[in-house]
């Protein structure tokens, strides 16, 4: 054909509107996480029993909960905890996954098989269920939650990294490099590892979404940050009893969780497509 793939795929597409909106929302979340007082001047822990369960108004954008705390302020402050837990547990999961995936990919058959089968066993449980099992042993708390979700998601990354490593180890350019580089370790470090890690940033971005969702789920069950910390999942949990009379106390944290997960996933997908296109050309 007269149009080569390279040419057909090269033109940079403009950012699409859904990506722009997602990035804008994530930027807003970042501000909320780092400088919550800039956009929410109230105190998230300030109770006001006289104003309990007030519907959304100009005074209280998202209404108030049963203790009279401002739901908007709590939602803004909650970004800090939810993002913190989501990002940190993903970092932990990716870190462990990459470490063991690479070890499995470059080492001898026995180690490779051992690690892979371990990944298979752990990966056979749904992530959230496995995290739940872990956290029942360690007890609730922010750090325990991070560990539980991080460890539970590690096999997912590990398997991808292992498969990539194995494929790249056999690729032609690695074979070729062996002709010019004497040490096996040097070939691995220079050529195998960097190329095997190419997909990790993309996977991690996609993973943050499910980590945030998982964290919210476990917090809802009471395993996350303890009262009165305004974490989104535990806000949902508290609002459970009042939903019939005050939908807003649960609706807005839930909405923010949903939007966050959608935004992160859209951005992740976008990065993924970009990455795949790059490897095609």
């Amino acid at each position: 054909m007269s149009i080569s793939l390279t040419e057909a795929f090269r033109p940079a597409r403009p950012l699409r509107w859904d990506i722009i909106l997602s990035l804008a929302f994530l930027a807003l979340l970042a501000i909320a996480a780092l400088f919550p007082w800039l956009i929410a001047p109230r105190d998230p822990l300030q109770t006001d029993f006289g104003n309990a369960l007030m519907p959304p108004s100009l005074e209280h954008f998202f209404g108030t909960d049963k203790l009279g705390r401002d739901v908007y302020t709590r939602t803004v402050y909650g970004a800090r905890y939810s993002l913190f837990i989501g990002v940190l547990s993903t970092v932990l999961g990716v870190g462990l996954g990459v470490l063991f995936g690479l070890i499995a990919g470059v080492s001898n058959r026995l180690t490779n098989e051992g690690i892979s089968r371990f990944f298979d066993v752990v990966g056979a449980f749904p992530d959230l269920l496995f995290a739940l099992v872990l956290i029942t042993f360690t007890g609730p708390g922010t750090w325990n939650l991070i560990f539980a979700i991080g460890i539970a998601s590690a096999p997912r990354y590990g398997r991808v990294v292992r498969a990539e490593t194995l494929a790249i180890r056999e690729s032609e350019f690695v074979q070729q490099a062996k002709l010019s580089i004497a040490s096996h370790a040097k070939v691995v470090i220079r050529h195998v590892l960097p190329n095997a890690l190419g997909t990790v940033p993309v996977l991690a971005t996609l993973g943050i979404g499910s980590a945030i969702l998982g964290a919210a789920g476990l917090s809802y069950l009471g395993f996350g940050p303890q009262q009165p910390i305004p974490e989104w999942g535990s806000m949902l949990s508290e609002a459970r009893g009042d939903l019939r009379v005050a939908w807003w106390s649960g609706f807005f944290p839930g909405l923010v969780i949903t939007l966050t997960v959608i935004s992160v996933t859209l951005v992740g997908r976008y990065l993924q497509r970009r990455f795949e296109r790059r490897s095609v050309s």
């Binding site: 054909m1 033109p11 032609e172 350019f173 070729q176 002709l179 010019s180 190329n195 490897s279």
Partner: protein
């Protein structure tokens, strides 16, 4: 046509009185920028084409010449965003310029059959070849067939396509057939509906010469019955024997068209002359293939052909592969050979003969199961890391897929630097040597900081050669180094390798399925079949008077182009 014969009533068209099947004048195909993602341009411009009954028309051109898109436009398959304009575009006497998809569909398959290059991707992997042909029969045949009639027709078609044991083969899936058999099955399905025109787009490019010869013969037979065949190829020598008329395309324009004899033996156009001159073979030994490749101006090193110790000595090499069904397969079976200093040893064989395994064994990437390799009298170890360390860089490899052999993150400089670092630990000298090598392989200065994927196929192969020379290797293994290149680029790369051999002290093991290429370059040659070297000796002797029956078979199958005469 006799007077009593009446055109079949079930045909949707009445056969035109004239024997003119396809008549095109001033064809212009362009791609709309919006649809083709900003790549709008004219790919074919002002093409005239006429196909008559019983004739074979060849369209020859290199990649990007517009030959494939021309073929596709004859089926209404030019693709999304393609704009087709023509002064005249008649197929079977009908003006197809206003054709809707439905009208094209009536034409496709039933009246124009298409045979593509890659039979494996053209055939549905989940259906037997019989079912594939059955579909073509059902959709296009002139009349309704009963199940039993269809089965016997399928067997007849496969048989006529030269497939042995057709009743058994029709129940097999594409992956169970060899490449040649798949191509035959594809031809059988293309001719199932007895079309008047067959378009074959590079039908033999992926095949070995012996199979290629049979496929071409088969296509020629099919034209015997008053049909028309359009043969598309990048290789003039393939079409030379077959075609009645040849159109030579370059960048979407016809540079030369006429009867085959005239185009090949008396070309008027410079581009056609270049193409013919670029074909390597017996006639081209010691001659430059391309006028575009400047000779390397360097003093020739004194010849040491008669050096006592051979550079490579391989003895009794054996390599087994574990087969899929648990059965082991002997890829290399007791192979012995030597490569002398500054010699080019050619290794020729068809796919599956074990050539590439030899390449891996000599480079040391694969340990032999039995036998030894020594380089300069010292044993060349297998893949054990410690032993390799001392000898790394002694043997280098130039492969077919140069892009796949580069780390995708690396620039040209980094790629070459890796092997140069072995001989030049000092950073400054290394830099100088890299530039020297890039000059030697005639890469433009601006390419050094670029990524190979931004370069053309020929430039990439030059980078690959520069890298291979970087560690100052004693032996250079070239495994199908020009197979993925167009004829004119291939000519330049072969010229380059020929020059390098004269200015370096490197010995070559040159592996190719293309006998012409091997003959052009090699001093001595080995012919390999089923893991065994069936014949070896000086190139002239082996190729002019082959002793082994396999070599003879191989040489007979090579399309011959009497270019010696043509060039005079």
């Amino acid at each position: 046509m006799t007077l009593t014969e009446v055109p079949s009533a079930t045909r949707s068209f009445v056969a035109p009185a004239s024997d003119l099947l396809i008549d095109i004048k001033g064809l212009r195909i362009s791609f709309d920028p919006a649809e083709a993602r900003g790549q709008g341009h004219t790919v074919v411009d002002g093409l005239d084409l006429q196909l008559r009954r019983g004739r074979i028309l060849a369209i020859v051109g290199e990649s990007g010449s517009g030959k494939s898109v021309t073929a596709r436009s004859l089926l209404g398959l030019a693709g999304r965003g393609a704009r087709i304009e023509a002064e005249r575009f008649d197929i079977f006497g009908q003006d197809v310029r206003r054709f809707e998809e439905a009208a094209w569909r009536r034409l496709r398959g039933s009246r124009i059959g298409l045979v593509l290059q890659d039979a494996l991707t053209s055939l549905d992997p989940l259906r037997t070849v019989g079912a594939e042909i059955d579909e073509a029969l059902e959709a296009h045949a002139a009349r309704r067939w009963s199940r039993r009639e269809r089965t016997s027709e399928i067997v007849r078609l496969l048989d006529s396509a030269g497939i042995r044991d057709p009743d058994f083969k029709r129940r097999q899936y594409p992956h169970q057939l060899s490449g040649g058999q798949r191509q035959r099955a594809l031809i059988a399905s293309a001719i199932a509906a007895d079309p008047d025109v067959i378009i074959a787009d590079e039908p033999t490019t992926a095949l070995d010469v012996t199979i290629q010869a049979r496929i071409l013969r088969l296509l020629k037979e099919k034209v015997g019955g008053g049909k028309g065949l359009i043969l598309i190829s990048h290789d003039l020598s393939v079409v030379a024997e077959l075609a009645d008329d040849i159109i030579v395309l370059n960048r979407g324009k016809i540079v030369e068209a006429g009867p085959a004899r005239q185009v090949i033996y008396n070309p008027a156009n410079d581009y056609t002359k270049q193409l013919i001159a670029a074909i390597p073979g017996s006639h081209s030994r010691g001659r430059r293939l391309s006028a575009l490749s400047p000779a390397i101006a360097a003093e020739e090193l004194p010849g040491t052909d008669a050096e006592a110790v051979p550079v490579v000595r391989a003895e009794g090499l054996v390599k087994w592969y574990r087969g899929a069904g648990g059965e082991d397969f002997k890829a290399v079976d007791g192979v012995s050979f030597t490569v002398h200093a500054r010699e080019i040893l050619g290794l020729v064989g068809e796919s599956g003969s074990g050539k590439s395994t030899i390449a891996k064994l000599v480079t040391g990437l694969l340990p032999p199961d039995a036998g030894t390799i020594s380089i300069h009298g010292k044993p060349w170890p297998g893949v054990t890391a410690g032993e390799r360390r001392a000898n790394v860089g002694t043997v280098q490899l130039i492969g077919q897929d140069s892009l796949g052999s580069f780390d995708p993150r690396y620039t040209v400089r980094e790629i070459v630097a890796e092997s140069v670092a072995l001989a030049f630990p000092d950073r400054k000298e290394r830099e100088r040597r890299i530039r020297e090598l890039l000059d030697l392989v005639q890469l433009p200065a601006g390419t050094i900081e670029r990524h190979p994927r931004e370069l053309s196929g020929g430039q990439r192969q030059r980078v690959s050669i520069a890298r291979a020379l970087g560690s100052d290797p004693k032996v250079l293994v070239c495994d199908e180094p020009v197979s993925a290149l167009d004829v004119s680029v291939q000519a330049q790369i072969l010229d380059l390798l020929h020059d390098i051999r004269h200015v370096s002290r490197t010995s070559f093991l040159f592996i190719s399925h293309d006998i012409g290429v091997v003959y052009h370059l090699s001093d001595r040659v080995m012919v390999m079949n089923d893991g065994i070297i069936v014949e070896q000796g000086r190139s002239e002797e082996v190729f002019s008077s082959p002793n082994h029956s396999y070599t003879q078979k191989l040489l007979e199958a090579v399309p011959k182009l009497e270019t010696e005469r043509a060039l005079k």
